[in-house]
């Protein structure tokens, strides 16, 4: 019996390892290929590990030498847009969530109902009118256009409100008796206790902004405003045939920040993704 169990455990591990390797291979292949000369990436001489490792592709990334698309510029754009979007989402969502969870005002339930109703509507549905809105504000092809749609999150307000409702009233009442105003209670009592939910929200806000492709595709029309997902595609059409390695190096630049974040904060990311599933 124990021998059978032992065999089963090893078989399970073997299956899991093979599948995990299959899943990891495409990304590992990208990493390895950024160090291969062109003929070792595709063509009859293709191989897993570089025979004659080269840094040419990474040199091209570092110094574009007049190429149409600067990966460095796109990277900087992505960082600025994603960081401001994430910070803004955290700030606006937590302020609004506090009002919905802890302050009394007329129309609170009705307004919250409106928010929930709009949550059902997919982003894609408002693509055309949102574009027209930025056109009217003369903000097309700007950082503002890239940031503003990602600067708030209805889901974020909902998530944080649920979390804040769970904070014991005693803590807040005690602070109020000590004479703390609404903002101080929010800042020094509620916000520190909301940290786990804020971590979850920041994961989603960052990924949503960093990885967005469709909205930048519509709203950006010059290379200097492109974020990485869009720049990659411009880059692909410009250099696909000539220089696979450099295209793959640019790809690695685009996927590295979320993946590195995942490596260092694996627990937060995993909890964030699983938690959204269980509360529903």
């Amino acid at each position: 019996m124990s021998r059978r169990r032992w065999t089963r455990r090893w078989a399970t591990l073997a299956i899991a390892l093979v599948l995990a390797l299959a899943w990891a291979v495409p990304l590992l292949w990208v990493v390895s290929s950024t160090f291969k000369p062109q003929q070792e990436i595709v063509g009859p001489e293709r191989r897993w590990l570089p025979a004659g490792p080269t840094l040419d592709h990474w040199r091209n990334i570092a110094d574009p030498q007049g190429r149409a698309v600067g990966v460095g510029r796109a990277f900087a754009n992505s960082v600025v847009v994603a960081l401001i979007s994430t910070f803004s989402t955290l700030a606006t969502s937590s302020l609004a969530a506090y009002a919905f969870a802890r302050l009394r005002f007329r129309g609170r339930e009705a307004l919250f109902g409106v928010l929930l109703a709009t949550m059902m509507i997919p982003n894609e549905v408002i693509l055309v009118p949102l574009f027209l809105q930025f056109h009217r504000l003369e903000l097309l092809n700007s950082y503002a256009a890239l940031i503003l749609p990602h600067a708030i999150s209805v889901l974020g307000v909902f998530l944080l409100r649920q979390f804040m409702l769970g904070i014991p009233s005693d803590l807040i009442d005690a602070a109020a008796i000590d004479g703390a105003g609404a903002f101080r209670i929010y800042r020094h009592v509620v916000l520190p206790l909301t940290r786990p939910a804020m971590a979850t929200l920041s994961v989603f806000a960052f990924l949503g902004s960093w990885n967005d492709f469709l909205w930048p595709l519509i709203v950006v029309n010059t290379p200097d405003k492109q974020t990485l997902p869009l720049a990659l595609i411009t880059f692909r059409s410009a250099y696909q045939m000539l220089d696979y390695g450099t295209v793959l190096a640019a790809t690695l630049v685009a996927v590295a920040p979320p993946l590195l974040f995942f490596v260092f904060a694996q627990r937060y990311v995993i909890a964030g993704i699983s938690r959204t599933g269980l509360k529903g």
């Binding site: 599948l19 609404a182 599933g277």
Partner: protein, 294 residues
């Protein structure tokens, strides 16, 4: 706090709401209303006169062969992608719900693709699926199976897209279902084992019923997401070969931003919303009926 005049508290509340509400109205609520209105007009980005045309756009949609084709392709994707992701996610979750060395690293391998942008997915998989030099055909050849044309074969391209989406998105069902499995109390299995229930029985009698609400949640989320499929298709096949993978959002994008027909594009968007709403409502009703039996 209660001692404060009510009006002051309301004012404070609106101050807390303002930073959220201003962008919410400008970039979310107003476009929703305007989009709905646009869908009843012949609005165009070229600046021609905007006229109210009633239901004309929607009537045109019903008869538009390109729209019907795109809707059909989208439905094919949904019907293939949702079960594939759900079953794969469940099997992987059951696999990873057992103790094994290196579990965190193994789990990370499945979750990592979920975190990367569609453009990177598209670039990587064009290499993997290249008929002449791609990894996948190299493997098929290595184990003696016939190589495939993948993306350049009209009958095969959507299947390839489903495969790509499986690799990219399986982390979500996997993690949510894994968390669901871990909520099931271990003593239930212990008791069942003492009663002589085999692994198969334990799965059907304990795991599946207790996991049902989580499974349903993942199912609905994936269903809605799958109807909105766009980037990985657009970037890998461009909708081809010969229109066999052009989906609804791509048609919306082309209509609105290449042909500049804002009114018609808005109608495509709202038709998608109505379809999603209808399908979700049917599932909810089925769930309620099923849930009442429990």
């Amino acid at each position: 706090m209660a001692a404060r005049p009510r009006r002051t508290q309301a004012l404070v509340a609106w101050l807390f709401l303002l930073p959220f509400l201003a962008p919410f109205v400008l970039f979310w609520a107003a476009p929703i209303v305007r989009g709905l209105y646009l869908s009843f007009t012949n609005a165009s980005l070229t600046g021609a006169d905007e006229r109210f045309v009633g239901l004309a756009n929607y009537q045109q949609l019903v008869a538009d062969p390109t729209y019907r084709r795109a809707l059909g392709n989208t439905v094919v994707f949904v019907v293939e992608n949702v079960p594939v992701l759900l079953v794969a996610g469940l099997l992987l979750a059951l696999l990873l719900n057992q103790s094994m060395p290196g579990l965190a690293a193994i789990r990370a391998a499945f979750v990592a693709p979920y975190l990367i942008t569609a453009s990177a997915v598209a670039i990587i998989w064009q290499f993997v699926l290249d008929p002449a030099t791609g990894l996948l055909n190299d493997w098929l050849a290595a184990v003696g199976l016939p190589t495939q044309r993948w993306l350049s074969e009209p009958g095969q391209a959507m299947g390839a897209i489903v495969l790509i989406t499986l690799w990219w998105r399986v982390g979500f069902p996997l993690l949510v279902l894994l968390a669901g499995l871990q909520e099931i109390p271990g003593d239930l299995y212990e008791a069942a084992r003492l009663d002589g229930a085999g692994a198969w029985q334990r799965f059907w009698r304990i795991t599946l019923p207790l996991l049902a609400p989580v499974l349903f949640f993942v199912f609905i989320i994936r269903l809605i997401d799958s109807f909105k499929v766009f980037a990985q298709v657009y970037l890998v096949t461009g909708g081809g070969p010969i229109g066999s993978t052009r989906v609804l959002i791509q048609y919306l994008y082309e209509t609105g931003f290449q042909d500049f027909r804002s009114g018609y594009a808005a109608a495509i968007g709202w038709s998608l919303f109505v379809i999603i709403l209808g399908v979700t409502a049917i599932q909810m009703r089925l769930l309620r009926r099923y849930g009442a039996d429990e």
